[in-house]
Symmetry: C2
Subunit: 211 residues, 2 copies
Amino acid sequence: MHHAFQNGYGTDMARPRTFDEDRALDAAMRAFWANGYEATSTQDLCEATGLGRSSIYNTFTSKHDLFRRALTRYIEIMSAPQAEILEDAGRSGMERIQALFARIVNSEYEYREDDEASIGCLTVNTVVELARRDPEAAALVERDLGTRLGLLRIALEAGQRDGTITAERDTDALARFINATIGGMRVSAQAGAGRAALESIADTALVALRP
Amino acid sequence: MHHAFQNGYGTDMARPRTFDEDRALDAAMRAFWANGYEATSTQDLCEATGLGRSSIYNTFTSKHDLFRRALTRYIEIMSAPQAEILEDAGRSGMERIQALFARIVNSEYEYREDDEASIGCLTVNTVVELARRDPEAAALVERDLGTRLGLLRIALEAGQRDGTITAERDTDALARFINATIGGMRVSAQAGAGRAALESIADTALVALRP
DNA sequence: CAGGTTTTGTACTGACCCATCCAATACTTG
DNA sequence: CAAGTATTGGATGGGTCAGTACAAAACCTG
């Protein structure tokens, strides 16, 4: 008996899938992101992905597992460009933080249905809705928090060296402050803040980083 | 035929309630606060309040209506002491903001089951989980946001007059910044930040307000 | 204590929940 | 083209959801 290989080519295949697993995962991620875990039913996931129940359960074993993968993917997608910004040796420390904030503001508009309210950030949404009672989700976001704080520290240390970031506070505290500011911007966006308001928040936060 | 008066004494009564409506509302508020709207079932509400289904539906007509009242009550309970702090003429503008932050930090520990993670802030939780698809909830938190921004502006204007708050930025922007910082602290707390981390975030934010 | 009225517990409703089962389908390999 | 295998759609299952119906209980008023 041959193993399943869950469509991992290289074994004798039978009927191939008619959908792209990554695209389906993206669609599911969007659904969870926009509506939250509890409010997204498996039926919703079928409609969002265009798949039937069998295909979903055959591919992603359970709603919870699908969410875990969706959250993992979200974190991957979002982390990479942020890392690029924060580790960009071509910019000063302060410029990196500024660029990060700009990206956060833009992201609130990139992933939004027209004239709907912002859907915020899946990580923040997960912390608020789920982290207390879902240890797996909590572990994922905690891990993500750790890496983001690390990246922030890298940029902040660069800023302290090049003189664009205050050296009066340790980078750990500053990193947590920036992270909290981003969370606050995300919540503000979901509460209806417009682009100007978000930019103003970011701009004000930068004052605290000045030397 | 006499009207119901929903146990509003003053009419001929029949069987009186064996529970206190306010206490029940408090218990329901706690349940929603800790677990969110979707994840709190009517059964959970029965257990949290100690009431039977009949009593709950007789008193609060529906889960959604009970949530609306719980959120309203939460906002009432939290607003009053914050207003007192922000309008306290005995303190400088900066001191008022400092005191507000201190209160936020403390509140993350007052309402927490022992060694459990923080349950955050019902307003923030509602914005994130519900505001996009529940217009009533959105209206309540938006209204609350308006009054809080107003109170913050009062303190900030006082601070600009007494010289403890920078006059380089208008109070509207500063108020939004502080509000976002509070939201960020709330999310950070739910993500596992301890007291020291929260105090550090608040302390760093204050730097941006200095003249 | 009797009449009237509200509360309360229990059983119940119909809808939806997540997940599984199974037969029909469609493809690859030999 | 035949054999074998994975995917797919649709039906199905047990459980929980919010909310209701109803009768028994509990109390006030007169």
